[in-house]
Symmetry: D2
Subunit: 390 residues, 4 copies
Amino acid sequence: MHYITAGESHGPQLTGIIEGIPAGLTIDVEKINQALANRQGGYGRGNRQKIEHDQVEIVGGLRHGVTLGSPLALVIKNRDHAHWSEIMNPTSPATLANTVRRVEHPRPGHADLVGGMKYRHRDLRNVLERSSARETAIRVAIGNICEQLLATLRIQMIGYVQQVGSVKVDDGISPALNVTQIKEQVEANDLRILDQDKVVLIHDLIDRTKRAGDTLGGVIRVMVENVPAGLGSYVSWNTKLDAKLAGAVMGVNAIKGVSFGDGFKDATNLGSHVMDEINYDAAHGFSRLTNHLGGFEGGMTNGMPIIINAAMKPIPTLYKPLQTVDVNTKEPLKANVERSDTTAIVPASIVVENVVAIELAKAVTDAFESSNIERLKDEINRYRQELVEY
Amino acid sequence: MHYITAGESHGPQLTGIIEGIPAGLTIDVEKINQALANRQGGYGRGNRQKIEHDQVEIVGGLRHGVTLGSPLALVIKNRDHAHWSEIMNPTSPATLANTVRRVEHPRPGHADLVGGMKYRHRDLRNVLERSSARETAIRVAIGNICEQLLATLRIQMIGYVQQVGSVKVDDGISPALNVTQIKEQVEANDLRILDQDKVVLIHDLIDRTKRAGDTLGGVIRVMVENVPAGLGSYVSWNTKLDAKLAGAVMGVNAIKGVSFGDGFKDATNLGSHVMDEINYDAAHGFSRLTNHLGGFEGGMTNGMPIIINAAMKPIPTLYKPLQTVDVNTKEPLKANVERSDTTAIVPASIVVENVVAIELAKAVTDAFESSNIERLKDEINRYRQELVEY
Amino acid sequence: MHYITAGESHGPQLTGIIEGIPAGLTIDVEKINQALANRQGGYGRGNRQKIEHDQVEIVGGLRHGVTLGSPLALVIKNRDHAHWSEIMNPTSPATLANTVRRVEHPRPGHADLVGGMKYRHRDLRNVLERSSARETAIRVAIGNICEQLLATLRIQMIGYVQQVGSVKVDDGISPALNVTQIKEQVEANDLRILDQDKVVLIHDLIDRTKRAGDTLGGVIRVMVENVPAGLGSYVSWNTKLDAKLAGAVMGVNAIKGVSFGDGFKDATNLGSHVMDEINYDAAHGFSRLTNHLGGFEGGMTNGMPIIINAAMKPIPTLYKPLQTVDVNTKEPLKANVERSDTTAIVPASIVVENVVAIELAKAVTDAFESSNIERLKDEINRYRQELVEY
Amino acid sequence: MHYITAGESHGPQLTGIIEGIPAGLTIDVEKINQALANRQGGYGRGNRQKIEHDQVEIVGGLRHGVTLGSPLALVIKNRDHAHWSEIMNPTSPATLANTVRRVEHPRPGHADLVGGMKYRHRDLRNVLERSSARETAIRVAIGNICEQLLATLRIQMIGYVQQVGSVKVDDGISPALNVTQIKEQVEANDLRILDQDKVVLIHDLIDRTKRAGDTLGGVIRVMVENVPAGLGSYVSWNTKLDAKLAGAVMGVNAIKGVSFGDGFKDATNLGSHVMDEINYDAAHGFSRLTNHLGGFEGGMTNGMPIIINAAMKPIPTLYKPLQTVDVNTKEPLKANVERSDTTAIVPASIVVENVVAIELAKAVTDAFESSNIERLKDEINRYRQELVEY
């Protein structure tokens, strides 16, 4: 299984192709659209999100709502492309009229400057249109298809927010709650947090930060439950599934840190408090008494819930702009302000959840014969049973 | 560029093949052996390290000390294989005599149990011989060749220890020191730490932990300097170099968290304290005033030193053994004790440094025409000059 | 560089994404459309081609006609989807009305039967809609972009027809003609053949075959000139460029054989008649006196024109249908007739030319720093000069 | 599954690593050595083969004769390295004494000249030591492991010789013989041909060619039987298994053409003579009445035997040397004669057989869950049964 995306932030559309989804899977397009809506929500966002209501179209690989086994092509139209149809026109040659809105003042914390140097762009719009987090919309669409695939195999997941700026919501790494319970809690507020009592506090933090022209990051957690043991392998450095997940999560815009289970706390704790002791009962086979390691041992899933944490830096664009330099005149000045979210931690939690879904769906479909979803289900069921009987 | 390794902990040898090292590179084998010795050192290690003195042999791709451009084959003989020549014999059939030392009590925190389930092993030695951190020796050998390649291009790096258990040595993320200065400091003690004043304190912590039959993890930092801007790309989720580095570092045994620059602190700080403002002077071109982001923007190197942090969990094997279950009888019992380091944070810092070297060498050789090292040097020099003149 | 395509024959559109085209390349969309028209032409085709006039749209990665360095997304709408909008509807659930035109009689020589077994389809339309050669239209669009890239580097190519059924047009393997001259000749007739005197003969063969309800294959040749020596490498089995080209060409629908230069004749000839002797002159450096080996030695381009031959089997669909079996009733019967070309050798020559272009563009951009087309041009020029001075 | 090899022709050893062989597979090392002996045999070979008797050692991934699931490391020592220990010394610096036997006269038809230009070697020994067909020994060792894996799944194969120079032995493409019968026939002579009556004729051809100082190529066929339908896929250009096989076969030294089934004859025949009509009986399910297409439709195996043909050019090294140019003085002269086989068609047939085995084993292990051979067997059996019941 692999996928690729294309499209610029104000271009006509985002396009994605994913290959390797089994034939015979019924796709609920409304679920994809709901995930896209979730990605556009959350407290602390600016106005742009309000004008877009992303809708996916599937233009290949699907027939009568069921996958064919051929590559799936997905499209999300950019609704405000209408206002940019000249400036971002794919084919009409550059003119004085359509090259307004040039970007020549690279924004610190963005790809602007280095992207310009690497690709020899002098209008940095040619960089930021692609490096923008707008692209994550199509990753969410692809990820939701993967979530639907995983759900068919009874693998459930949720991404949510654990920390906004300096406010930690939940520090436990082995929550007593399951995915369904977490979902209920975090979808009951606009911060995707577990502790309803902290909503007002964090709203207030965001409001104050916004008034100060500043921005906030946070920490995201993704939990996945009912993953069979043995996905990934210890045999080589690049067969470890936790390593692949870490790469995928770090590949989300603005993520600067990734960890599993207790994560950086593991570095502090004594060994006797880190390992998850092994238990056995005949009905369920082997299990662990705790989950400090976040569901991974030796790069393999161990049957416990996967717990991934991701640190998101604050959105770099500030109303209180930072020092930069004009790439043409070389004059120092203040960076452009291009958008206006105070924090994007809520949408980022959706994106991280979805890239985790993609990697897990890939792990499953790469490991098992996956031409057809029913055959795959049968195989996974037999494999689960074998694990119980080990 | 890509590489693969093979070999079991007590088998005859570790073997590695790396393809894509340019022709014409002079390899100093003694430097590789020095890196291997560093990996075997450090306070807090058990006795096994003392009997091994790893030496690399290069058996392919090298002639008269100079690379040919063909794949390099590396061998590290396992010096104590002599004692295991029957038990780990590759070809002689299993007998009563050579199947002693079976492992049937999976150790929590290791690959043992899940490896047995996945591959259907009932003697878990068949798992742990490969999942053992012994394999990292050959990764260090490969990594050191990559470091020698990078050094030819004036890219320098160092891995060291920032935290042992709960003792933090250095919390600054933008150290005033360069690689050479750090190297001097961290090689002046057996903990690879910057602050000589903390050596006694940490020795004491390790000694006490050892007496208590417990183990310690820690935090590792790798710093790389003089990396040209523009390695990696923002254009796709899997072209981001920080994502690849995160994957490679998470692929090191016992690493549970990876971050860049300020890492998880970025989640806490305000945006105005996270971004690295842009500066310019004609002689050096663009630079940053700070390095909170650890040398990456948009998944690309930005010309500032790369700063990677890795959280290592404590070694799972404890003198104070944990609860497990016999995989055959299903009886609960205490896990086997197979080795005896109190902490492996020093060797892990060498390993992490070397896997970073491999990924960076890969990034450079994949990006530029790299058949011959002199041609590559010329290209990189021209590219660096172009960046200054942007 | 890599690419992927999606889309079914009667679905809404074909979609392709290609990543790795350098920034700064001006794309002439009309040239792509011309290549698409060429693919739809040629003597011996049925009626479907006449109703389609493929037009490419570029919906990502291009701005004002110039590549951005981000992935390019290409779309070709299927013009007759209007007539299939229910039957091939991606999302509306299956009903009695929209599941007419089921295919339950697998056609010998097509993917129908095995595709049904592998993916568990019982309506084989779910297979043939993707396995159809319709998909090659988007490969041609991608290939033409690659040809435009290669032309910027002065690499020129042409695909043409050497044999139709049993009629051989040109047997010489080292034609005195260059690409421009061949182009002129083969575009002067509707068979893409060099010898105008054989046009009537072959038209007659095709007409007779059509009347007999039968079909014809043929042999295609692709010639590429001005390729720098040293693309590909002998160092590993999977770094050989001729091997990659062979794979790509064999990946075109209906191709059953691939060879380079004299190809299968090399098996018959004596060694003294096969090797290309080496010459030298100061102005041009090294060259070969002949080109029996078709431009490859040791898996590397050797600076002589690349000569690739491909054997195409006849189109399997026959008016004179073959024995098959109903996949549901298991009754023997005659296979469905779904389309009506007598030979597709002309369009196949365009497709093969274009997949060769893709592999060569990949070889060039993978070998050299290719973020920006101007930088790439400079590098290639320096490399060419170095070869002359070797 | 993937593999890589390293090692030079006169270096200390050849090394190979293959990852992805299931755990639990019993490896018969003698079978590997027999395949290595077969590769060294055949009429028409020079003296070098007589001094070498290749023996494989397995130094990783195997314990007590059974695979562990970890990467397998294989070594074949070069027995005449003793005579080259200075000239090909990996580490001792170049001196006057150890740089004798320089090669400065590139041999036409070899990688020598282009390899020198690409990697900037002036002693072309640095090229030919790796580009030599010596490397295929380790590919055969890896391939034989794959054959043993496939045999466990009841997939059998044989490579043999169909043509030597201009003498065709067998032109039938759908032989009535099965693999076992072919094996008996072709192993009854030293040419690996089916027709014992042609042995004298071909011996005579080889003898005459040798006296004339010339060399011979030929055509190889590989047949594989009992391959389940549905390996590979039509869904994308690079999922087609015939395309991958074509690439792997073209990646064997001296191969210039590859085809399936009737191959280039398909280009000549009418469609009604090319397609393989479909049959059905309840006990065996679907089958084909003929096998013109060599076991592939739509890039997938169709359950019929796989038939691959490969055209081998004559060995370029001639006693009657060809024109070349000294790479340093630029003087024209006659090419070095480095070895002395008159034809290597017999060993090449073994090599091609083995690379086919590797690709098929890869296709199987990539498609199915392949951690353990018994689980894999069960899956394949269920899949085969499903195909019968389709």
